[in-house]
Symmetry: C2
Amino acid sequence: MNFQSASRAQLEAAEAELAQQYQAHQSSGLSLDLTRGKPSTEQVELSSSLDGILAGNYISEEGVDLRNYGGLDGIPGMKRLFAETFSIDVSRILIGGNSSLTLMYQSALFALQFGLGGEGSAWNQESGEVKFICPVPGYDRHFSVCEHLGIKMIPVAMDENGPLMDEVESLIKADPMIKGIWCVPRFSNPTGCVYSDEVVDRIAALAGIAGNNFRVFWDNAYAVHILDDEAKELADVFVSAKKHGTEDSVLIFGSTSKVTFAGAGVAFMAASSSNLAAFKRHLGFSSIGPDKLNQQRHINLLKDATGFKAHMTQHAAILKPRFDIVEKYLIEGLAGSGIASWLKPQGGYFVSFDSEPGLAKQIVAMAADAGVKLTPAGATFPYGHDPKDANIRLAPSYPSLEEIEQAMAIFVVCVKLATVRKMLNA
Amino acid sequence: MNFQSASRAQLEAAEAELAQQYQAHQSSGLSLDLTRGKPSTEQVELSSSLDGILAGNYISEEGVDLRNYGGLDGIPGMKRLFAETFSIDVSRILIGGNSSLTLMYQSALFALQFGLGGEGSAWNQESGEVKFICPVPGYDRHFSVCEHLGIKMIPVAMDENGPLMDEVESLIKADPMIKGIWCVPRFSNPTGCVYSDEVVDRIAALAGIAGNNFRVFWDNAYAVHILDDEAKELADVFVSAKKHGTEDSVLIFGSTSKVTFAGAGVAFMAASSSNLAAFKRHLGFSSIGPDKLNQQRHINLLKDATGFKAHMTQHAAILKPRFDIVEKYLIEGLAGSGIASWLKPQGGYFVSFDSEPGLAKQIVAMAADAGVKLTPAGATFPYGHDPKDANIRLAPSYPSLEEIEQAMAIFVVCVKLATVRKMLNA
């Protein structure tokens, strides 16, 4: 039924039926959780040979004793593994600890306070409030890095090709204190979109407008997390940056958090030699270098780009049925209803759902009352504020297939009931 | 021979003989390294069962899957292990990643920029230059944290009981912008001294003079690194702080870097609940929590305080002969010479040596020319500046016994030759 063209009587009948369904769900006492972009137990088990995989060999290929001090930016084998898998020149790779979030925070902190471009390049030495462009909906932990560091966030909408670049460019032209942009360019969190070649190229060119201290935070967190063999490829941002003479503006981030063990993986960043030199100089004051043993374990497990990709195929086999259930319930329950929209992702960890404006918070609250925890509405926007109150992020990776079925059945009822009631009260 | 009371002729004869010895060393083409406080290969091998020690069990005692996200401040078992071993209440422990240096840097950063004592407590919100007391000689990486964060360092001398507290107290009374003090209270780096009970108590009382935003950075890095069963115990700083009502001023740090694997160990900090809450709030913006698997591996290896101490006894058995060689060469070559002084440490990783004023740089350079690398003179002082140019840090943990013998023989010749030449030219 298309709710937008339904008569009042039809809406009233629907409300009564949906209210009954909702009550039935409420009284069933379920406790389900679709909040977290967290791998399932089946997924982490794919890497359970990691502990013990060194088999007593603690010496790297280069003859370094991995049990002792040294190596601020990682061991060569781990750099090679990321370089091959992400098609990045190995000289640009720096290995971090267990979290790419930490590398992103440090990059923003160092750029803000000390500058990544040499003497006088610190953002906070310029007069005015430092600002970042935040494509929305986006990742709440990117936004909270900005909040913590006192960087003002300017939201810009996205479509299926990425951020709306006309708007991004005109904002940057008008304000020299815009110093960065957050990007999750492949299987964006949460929309799942893959930035088009044109968008990648225009983002790479931004420093030409914004100046030398501008940085693109290219969080390629889901680059290898493919659900569909036909998934759109992402253009190489460094190739565009080279063309535009803006290579110093690009900082790429990634990790194995959702490849091996979440919280015990290996992170990396990739950047120009001048950015890496500045980053390492500052990093050296606070770090003795990341755990080299865990790097060697990852080398032994994943081996090379081919091994890495084969490992990700196993993840996809576990994840795809979960995303298929979400899609099935959304189509069966809401296709043609005129009250909901969503994108079917070809990779990543989320489905981004939009309700009618003004209903996301209410839907999330109703789902919670019926035992389904969802990511708080607004979390995908800077300062937790979704101006339309419409976006809801669904994260089906962690629960079992049966739990996702139950949760999605409830979610669809909540969406419809909240919408019908709003229409009846309008 | 006592050089101070020798005749010119005796000195000239000594110079000729020493010069010959030095030349012989120079031409022997050795390449030895006494620079680094780094465990030897024998030491790291004590922990070589770590990889694989989980034996496929990735679930913690509390039923948490250690392969997945969660746990910003560490797992309970690791907190208990540190709490027992360091006699600290478990509620005060926070587990870090592989580096206590990182926890110290973060503590200083958060205190400086955001405050650890709630609204308005940030050091950089007060007017004036933020300063730290730095007992000297001390640890260069403490000093570089201050340098990086723009904190001015005020050196204060130490004796065998710790920092000279009359001076520390009068500096703090005179300047409210002194916000911290670096301490390595047991087996200090490099002097090896253990702070006396009185010094511990007076340090714990400093916040009573300095105010609520003052923090004692209590880097108890070598607390369990005992070389001598009779080693002096360290008083409990939290007990004194409680008595003085200054518990919020104490931040304790430590790690297993020199217990298990250097660079792949587990760090901790201990602090009052209000400090921990503030620290965690800020930490949460940049961290997904430390590697839980590595914590569980350490729990399995070390088990409890008894296991921890037994493990350290094995380290001592490896380290003690190395320190004995250093002591033997210093006594045989320089006791009664009137031109050198040093302390015999009962624990830790260093021997702190003082030459006649104005000679440390030259001795280090001469040793380097004869194939013995020493820690750069001055490194044990803020800004790398030893005003007397007298202190040299010897680090005998890493080289083999034979290498230490060779290095110490050369070192003693360099000290004597440099001093005699200075006396002859005076």
